[in-house]
C-alpha cells in the first residue's frame, strides 16, 4: 500500500476582472469571429432574460429563473459542442441552448407554460431543461453510454448548479462516468447560492470540483466569467472525452446576479455589498472590455448589437404571445405513443370541455 495518495484540482485563468489578459491567451482567442459571436450571444441571452422577467412581472410568463451571471459559461458550452453532441442542460443554460438551436420562442413557450417549448425543432437529441435538481446527470451518463455502446465519437455536456453537487444523482453519475470512462463533461455552474443557501453551507469541501476525485475524474476550477478560461477548460475536456479518454468535471465560478427565480426575493438573505462586488466582476461586461482593448469593438457596434438583440427578442415575444395554447386534449395525446383505450373516455370528456368553451380555453 502507498504511504499517501495525492490529488490536485487545477485552475487556469486568462482575464482579470476588467478583461485584461493575465498571460498568453489560448489559441481560440485568435479566432476573432468566434470571440465576437460569443459576445453577441451573451448579449442576446441577457436581452431575452430581461424581457422574460418583464413578461413575468406583467403576467405574460410563469415563474422564471434568470440566466444573469451564467451567460459566459452557457455561451462557451454552446460554442464548444459539435452539433452532433448532446447538451443535457439545467435551467440556467439559456445561453447554451440558443447556440444549440433552441429558438427564443421555444424558450418563452417553455417558461410560459407550454410543453411545445421542449419540442425543439432543431437539436433534436438535446434533453429538455431538467427542473428536479441533478436528475439530468443520470440521463447524461445514459446518453454517453449509448455513444459508447455504438462506438460513436460524440460527447455529452451536462450542467448543474452548486446545490446539485449535494445530491446523490450527481455523485452516482460521476461515479459511473469514472467507472465506465464515459464521454461526458460535467459543468458545475457554481453561482454561490442555492436559493438562499450559500456555498459554504452547501458543502464542507474546499472546491466543488474535487467531488470529481472520488469518482476518479480529473477536476478543474475556472473563473466562469473569464470567457477564455471556461472555453479552454471545456475544449480540453471535450477533446479528451471525444478521444475516448473519459469524463471530466469543470467547476465554473460565477455569481447569481438575479434572484433564484421571479418568485424569489434575494434581499431577504443576501448582502447588497456582495452583489455589488459580483457585478464588478461579471462576464458580459468583461468580455466587452476585452473586445475594446483588442480593438475589436466600438460604441457604434455595441449600439447596433443592442438594437439587433432587442429586435430578435421582440419578434420572438410576438410569436410567443400570438401562439394559441394547445387544445386541452393535447395533455392526453402525448402521454403514450398510442392512446390506450383506458384513456379514451377521459379524452372525450376533455374534448367536450373544449367544444363547450368554443375552443376558447
Amino acid at each position: 500500500m502507498k504511504d499517501r495518495y495525492d490529488f490536485t484540482v487545477s485552475s487556469r485563468g486568462f482575464l482579470d476582472d476588467q478583461g485584461h489578459p493575465l498571460n498568453d491567451l489560448p489559441a481560440l482567442a485568435s479566432d476573432t469571429e468566434r470571440v465576437l459571436s460569443a459576445y453577441r450571444n451573451m448579449v442576446l441571452s441577457r436581452t431575452l432574460d430581461n424581457k422574460t422577467i418583464a413578461l413575468q412581472r406583467t403576467g405574460h410568463c410563469g415563474t422564471y429563473p434568470s440566466v444573469l451571471g451564467h451567460e459566459v459559461i452557457g455561451t462557451a458550452i454552446g460554442q464548444c459542442l459539435d452539433p452532433t453532441d448532446v447538451l443535457v442542460p439545467y435551467y440556467r443554460d439559456q445561453a447554451a441552448q440558443i447556440l444549440r438551436g433552441v429558438s427564443l420562442t421555444e424558450m418563452l413557450l417553455y417558461w410560459g407554460g407550454d410543453e411545445r417549448g421542449s419540442a425543439f425543432e432543431h437539436c433534436a437529441e438535446d434533453l429538455p431543461v431538467a427542473v428536479p435538481i441533478a436528475t439530468q446527470c443520470c440521463h447524461a451518463v445514459g446518453v454517453a453510454s449509448a455513444f459508447r455502446i455504438r462506438n460513436q465519437h460524440r460527447v455529452v455536456a451536462c450542467s448543474v448548479g452548486d446545490g446539485a453537487t449535494s445530491k446523490g444523482d450527481f455523485l452516482e453519475s460521476l461515479n459511473l462516468a469514472g467507472a465506465w470512462q464515459l464521454p461526458v463533461v460535467f459543468i458545475i455552474q457554481n453561482n454561490q447560492w442555492a436559493i438562499s443557501t450559500p456555498r459554504r453551507l452547501q458543502s464542507g469541501s474546499e472546491t466543488m470540483a474535487q467531488k470529481a476525485i472520488g469518482a476518479g475524474l480529473p477536476a478543474v476550477i475556472v473563473d466562469g466569467n473569464d470567457y477564455f478560461a471556461i472555453s479552454d477548460a471545456l475544449t480540453r475536456a471535450i477533446t479528451r472525452a471525444r478521444a475516448g479518454k473519459g469524463a471530466s468535471v469543470i467547476e465554473a465560478l460565477t455569481y447569481r446576479l438575479g434572484d433564484h427565480t421571479t418568485a424569489d426575493d434575494s434581499t431577504r438573505y443576501r448582502d447588497a455589498e456582495e452583489l455589488k462586488a459580483a457585478w464588478a466582476r461579471e462576464g458580459v461586461k468583461r468580455t466587452q472590455s476585452y473586445l475594446h482593448q483588442a480593438g475589436l469593438w466600438s460604441a457604434t457596434r455595441e449600439q447596433r448589437l443592442q438594437a439587433d438583440c432587442k429586435s430578435r427578442v421582440d419578434s420572438a415575444v410576438a410569436a410567443y404571445l400570438k401562439t394559441p395554447p394547445e387544445p386541452p386534449t393535447a395533455m392526453i395525446d402525448s402521454l403514450f405513443a398510442t392512446l390506450p383505450p383506458a384513456l379514451q373516455a377521459q379524452r372525450e370528456q376533455l374534448a367536450r370541455t373544449q367544444e363547450k368553451s368554443g375552443g376558447d380555453l
Binding site: 444523482d169 461515479n175 403514450f336 383506458a342
Partner: protein, 325 residues
C-alpha cells in the same frame, strides 16, 4: 418447446429480443457475470457481450436515470432492480422523467425502456425484500405496470414490454419464479399489453387478481366447483392502463366481484378496480364488491408472512360471503 419456470421464461424473452433487436441492452446490479441474483439474465453476457449486458454500480437512481438517457438515444434498455424494495431511490427518475419524457417533449424524445423488479412475499426473504407496492406506480400517468403470473405470460408480456415504445415497469412475482413450470414456445410471439386475461370462465362470481396470487385464486375457483359455485378468474396483468372493459363485462355477467391482491388494502389497485365496477357495473351487482388483500401494516418478517398473505381459504370465504347475499 420446453417446460420452463417463470424466471427461465424471463431469460428466454430477454435472449430472444436481444437477438432480434440490437438496440436492446440489459443492465443492473450483478446482471452480467453473475447472471442476476435470481439468474434471470444468466448467459446473456456470454452471448451478447459486455457492451449490451452491463453490470452497473450499486445505485438505483443511477440505474433508473441511465436507462432514460440511453432510451432517449433510441436504445431499448431493460434495467433490473434487484428487488422492488430497493426501487424507491430510483422512483424520482421513473416518475419525474421516464413516465413524462414523451409528454414533456411532445413526442420529440421518448423512453422505450423496461424496468424489471422481483416483488412480493412468500420466500422467507430478509426485511425489505417482500413488499408489493405496485399501487405506487400504477398511479403514475405515462408508466405501464405489468405483472406476469405464469411462465407463458412472463415470456409474452416481457417481449411486449420491450417492444413497447413507452416505459414499462415489469414486476415479477418471485414467489412463483420457480414454483411452477409451463411449456413455453420460444417463438418471439408477444402477448398484448393493456389487456386482462380471462383464465377461467364462470357465471356466479368474478375473481380478479394478478401476480403470484393467480395460483391461489385458480385453486379457490376449482374448490368452489364442489360447492356448486362457478367462478370466473381474471388475471389483470396490466395494472395501468387498466383494461376496464373486460372487468366490467365479466362482472356485468356474474353480478359479483372479489378482488384478490397481496398488497395492503388501502389505496391499492383493488380500490381502483372496485371504484370502476361501482361506477360502471353497479346496477348489475348482486352483492357488495369484496377485497381479499394483505393488511394495512408493514409486511411482517418471514415468521409471520403466511399470516399476512391471502390464501385459498380467504378467497373461498370471501366468495361464500358474496354468494350468500
Amino acid at each position: 418447446m420446453t417446460d420452463v419456470t417463470l424466471v427461465e421464461a424471463v431469460n428466454l424473452a430477454l435472449a430472444r429480443e436481444m437477438a432480434n433487436d440490437d438496440t436492446v441492452v440489459v443492465m443492473g446490479e450483478d446482471v452480467a457475470t453473475n447472471g442476476g441474483v435470481f439468474r434471470a439474465t444468466v448467459g446473456l453476457k456470454e452471448r451478447f457481450g459486455y457492451k449490451r449486458v452491463l453490470d452497473t454500480p450499486l445505485a438505483e437512481a443511477l440505474i433508473a436515470g441511465t436507462a432514460i438517457g440511453m432510451a432517449t438515444q433510441g436504445l431499448r434498455p431493460v434495467a433490473e432492480f434487484q428487488f422492488m424494495g430497493f426501487i424507491y431511490a430510483g422512483m424520482e427518475q421513473i416518475v419525474s422523467h421516464a413516465a413524462r419524457m414523451r409528454n414533456r417533449t411532445r413526442g420529440r424524445l421518448s423512453c422505450p425502456l423496461v424496468y424489471r423488479a422481483p416483488f412480493g412475499g412468500g420466500i422467507h426473504a430478509p426485511e425489505h425484500h417482500s413488499e408489493s407496492t405496485e399501487a405506487l406506480f400504477a398511479h403514475i400517468p405515462g408508466l405501464r405496470v405489468v405483472v406476469p403470473s405464469s411462465p407463458q405470460r412472463a415470456y409474452g408480456l416481457l417481449l411486449a414490454a420491450i417492444r413497447d415504445p413507452d416505459p414499462v415497469l415489469f414486476l415479477e412475482p418471485k414467489r412463483i419464479y420457480r414454483a411452477l413450470t409451463q411449456t413455453v414456445e420460444d417463438d418471439g410471439e408477444a402477448l398484448p399489453l393493456d389487456t386482462c386475461f380471462t383464465l377461467r370462465e364462470g357465471d356466479d362470481v368474478t375473481l380478479i387478481t394478478w401476480g403470484a396470487l393467480v395460483q391461489e385464486t385458480l385453486q379457490a375457483a376449482r374448490e368452489l366447483t364442489g360447492q356448486g359455485v362457478s367462478a370466473e378468474v381474471i388475471d389483470v396483468a396490466t395494472l395501468n392502463p387498466l383494461d376496464r372493459e373486460t372487468l366490467i363485462c365479466s362482472v356485468t355477467k356474474t353480478g359479483r366481484a372479489v378482488i384478490v391482491h397481496e398488497a395492503c388494502r388501502s389505496g391499492g389497485v383493488g380500490a381502483e378496480i372496485a371504484a370502476t365496477l361501482a361506477e360502471q357495473a353497479f346496477l348489475d351487482l348482486q352483492a357488495p364488491i369484496v377485497r381479499v388483500t394483505g393488511f394495512d401494516t408493514v409486511m411482517p418478517y418471514y415468521r409471520n408472512e403466511q399470516a399476512y398473505l391471502p390464501g385459498v381459504a380467504d378467497i373461498i370465504h370471501a366468495v361464500e360471503q358474496v354468494i350468500a347475499l
